[in-house]
């Protein structure tokens, strides 16, 4: 074989592999945010311990259900059935809610949803609101909008209270304070919560009692409540809300006005489907046979609960996800967060690293949800599909069988595709193309192989490479690479 021109500029290969395009490094990519999170040792310890507990609880609760796999398959089908006729179900839902005395509002984006809710609160003439924080109310940035309108918001959840008092954002969309241990929550309560008992210990029971005492008057006297819900049943107009602490029940029974914000994907076709989802959700989410409380209600009832019920249906990028035949499966999500507790990446970074553009969902589901609902043009969004080793643990536990690893790879393809249109290809792309070209034919592959081996052996000492140049240096920051033997397998095979 001739030693023609070297097809691969080796230093460029070494330097650019794993890199990003020009100008991207300065923006808050997942990797940058993750580095900060990794340095927070207290958070890492809490997350490691909490995730192990959650994994154990989920495992026990699902192992106990002998029909778990049948339930998952049914859950997948129910959610697909919802999504593939979503327009019909939404119209049916609207009719059913209206017939039952409620009012339905439609919001194309977060700003419109905020305007609707603020307008509804203003119309009541009240300046105090109680809220069960949910992924959807956080997604639309409702708290800030209400505060801006001069409305005072009290959350019902102890963890939400702790996170707000600490001036933090939730690290988990279901368990907002899961990254903080009881001792840290105690310190926050003592320092920031008016009326916290001075002899408060870090016994979770005492912390719960302190939160109860602090919140109770506000909750009992509230006239307006804003909540999210888990599901809306199209056929009957029924809203469904599982919870643990009764804060949701406070919201939907005591005030005169109840405003419920829902993503359009949260609709399910019929009441009977609850027999599936009410088994999948609690066992997957918190490892419980059933959530301590599940409330279901249809419109308004005489002499029980609010006189006014408003349902706000939110798109905010969901239809963009729905348009992707592969990616739309992400919208099956029922919000159990099981994929977070099994994810080795989430366990080490927590949720903040995933918060591209303030998005709420984190972990594996966030990594496929956010790039689809917000698009992959932003560097932060585009980095999310790569925030995974594709280990597959998330897909294995998903109660509605979302193929999260498959969708991650699919979205990586979209990110790359979007970059193909750049006038100058990013260095990584140039290298990947060159590698593909070289490996596309033995006659190019073998000289490249020889060349690569020669380069690598020049960099090695004592059979290992301790430092690689450029961004491949990311590998050798903490890991050696074995020096390639002089002869590759194919040469040894030929000469054996």
């Amino acid at each position: 074989m001739t030693s023609g021109p070297i097809p691969l500029p080796m230093p460029r290969v070494l330097g650019a592999l794993g890199g990003t395009g020009p100008g991207e490094a300065a923006r808050p990519r997942f990797a940058t945010a993750a580095r900060e999170a990794l340095a927070d040792t207290g958070q890492r310890r809490s997350l490691r311990e909490s995730m192990a507990v959650l994994r154990g609880r989920r495992e026990a609760a699902t192992a106990e259900a002998a029909d778990w796999e049948e339930l998952r398959e049914a859950g997948r089908a129910v959610r697909d059935r919802s999504l593939l006729s979503l327009d019909t179900h939404l119209e049916t839902l609207e009719g059913a809610v209206t017939d039952a005395g409620g009012t339905v509002h439609w919001a194309a984006d977060a700003a419109e949803a905020r305007r609707i809710v603020v307008g509804l609160v203003r119309a009541t003439g009240r300046s105090e609101v109680i809220e069960v924080r949910s992924p959807v109310t956080r997604e639309i940035g409702l708290d800030r909008a209400l505060a801006g309108a001069g409305v005072d918001v009290a959350e019902t959840g102890a963890a939400d209270l702790a996170v707000r008092l600490a001036g933090e954002r939730p690290a988990h969309f279901l368990l907002p304070a899961v990254h903080r241990d009881p001792a840290e929550i105690r310190r926050t309560f003592l320092r920031r919560m008016p009326g916290a008992p001075s002899d408060l210990t870090d016994d979770p029971r005492e912390l719960a009692d302190a939160a109860r005492a602090h919140l109770r008057r506000r909750l009992l006297s509230a006239d307006v409540a804003v909540i999210g819900a888990a599901f809306a049943v199209a056929e009957t107009g029924t809203l469904v809300m599982p919870e643990g602490d009764g804060g949701g029940r406070m919201c939907l029974t005591l005030p005169e006005t109840l405003i419920c914000v829902l993503g359009i994907e949260q609709v399910v076709p019929c009441w009977r489907d609850m027999e599936i989802l009410l088994q999948l959700l609690p066992r997957s989410a918190t490892g419980e046979r059933m959530s301590p409380y599940v409330s279901t209600w249809t419109g308004v009832s005489a002499q029980d609960g609010p006189r006014d019920l408003h349902v706000v249906l939110l798109d905010n990028g969901r239809t963009a996800a729905l348009a992707d035949e592969v990616g739309r499966a992400a919208l099956r999500c029922i919000g159990c967060a099981a994929c977070l507790s099994v994810c080795p990446v989430y366990e080490r970074t927590g949720g903040h690293a995933y918060a591209a553009g303030g998005s709420v969902l984190s972990g594996p589901i966030g990594a496929i949800w956010t790039p689809q609902t917000r698009g992959v043009r932003g560097a932060a969004e585009a980095s999310l599909p790569f925030a995974s080793t594709l280990c597959g643990a998330c897909g294995d536990v998903c109660p509605v069988k979302i193929d999260i690893p498959g969708i991650l790879v699919h979205l990586r393809g979209k990110v790359v595709q979007a970059r193909r249109h750049r006038p100058v290809p990013p260095p990584e792309m140039a290298v990947m193309r060159a590698l593909a070209w070289a490996m596309g034919d033995r006659r190019r592959y073998e000289p490249a192989l020889r060349q690569g081996v020669r380069w690598a052996r020049l960099l090695s000492r004592g059979g290992r490479i301790r430092r690689l140049p450029g961004l491949l240096g990311k590998w050798t920051e903490a890991r050696d690479l074995p020096a390639p033997p002089r002869d590759p397998f194919r040469v040894r095979w030929r000469e054996r």
Partner: protein, 212 residues
């Protein structure tokens, strides 16, 4: 208008897939397996075991002992004043001496609900596999605030109200009524992942299973 805009986006997003029928395979358990419960007595026993797993108190009583047991439970807590739905069967409270029972017809003020020592109700159905009682606002159950604000809830379950599984309960319940599925006392995992009582609902739940 956003209604049309959202619906139009949905339709455009689905394209040709729109309206595709998806068959939902329902071959999961609709009833308890023989392993879980072979007889009616086993169903009741499973229910009690699962209620107790939620750290609720559960007791079995004969129909003729119900009034005495209700009274004893309230005495044991030194309850002075309780609230009950105004259609609670009179007999359940027949042995109540020294405890004032306020009958609620949707009229008792929230501040009073917060101040009473407990609430006594019946239920609409109960689920063995999950240890759940379900209230639907029907007879002997009252409005939802009644079983939410007081810190102690005594719930009477007749053995024949207990079904095996969630699908059986869903089939039996009316979605047009306000339903509250209660599985143990209010509990939060928010503060260290240990299930602790609170924060807002009753921190104690006691279930009396009435067997004839």
């Amino acid at each position: 208008m956003s209604r049309e805009r959202v619906l139009r986006s949905v339709r455009a997003a689905l394209g040709e897939a729109r309206g595709t029928e998806v068959n939902v395979p329902r071959d999961y358990h609709h009833r308890l397996t023989g392993e879980e419960a072979g007889s009616r007595a086993d169903v009741v026993a499973l229910f009690s075991e699962r209620v107790a797993d939620h750290r609720a108190t559960v007791r079995h009583v004969g129909a003729d002992e119900l009034a005495t047991t209700v009274a004893a439970a309230l005495w044991a807590r030194e309850a002075k004043r309780i609230v009950v739905p105004d259609d609670l069967p009179y007999g359940w409270l027949a042995q109540l001496e020294g405890v004032q029972a306020l009958a609620d017809a949707g009229t008792v003020d929230v501040a009073v609900l917060d101040a009473v020592d407990g609430v006594v109700t019946g239920c609409a159905a109960a689920v063995a596999r999950t240890g759940t009682v379900v209230l639907d606002g029907g007879r002997a159950q009252g409005r939802r605030a009644l079983t939410l604000v007081p810190d102690y809830h005594l719930c009477v379950v007749h053995a024949d109200q207990i079904v095996g599984t969630v699908p059986e309960a869903v089939a039996r319940l009316d979605p047009y009524r306000p339903l509250t599925w209660i599985s143990g006392p209010a509990a939060t995992l928010d503060l260290g992942l240990r299930r602790v009582p609170g924060v807002h609902g009753p921190r104690e739940l006691e279930v009396l299973v009435v067997e004839d």
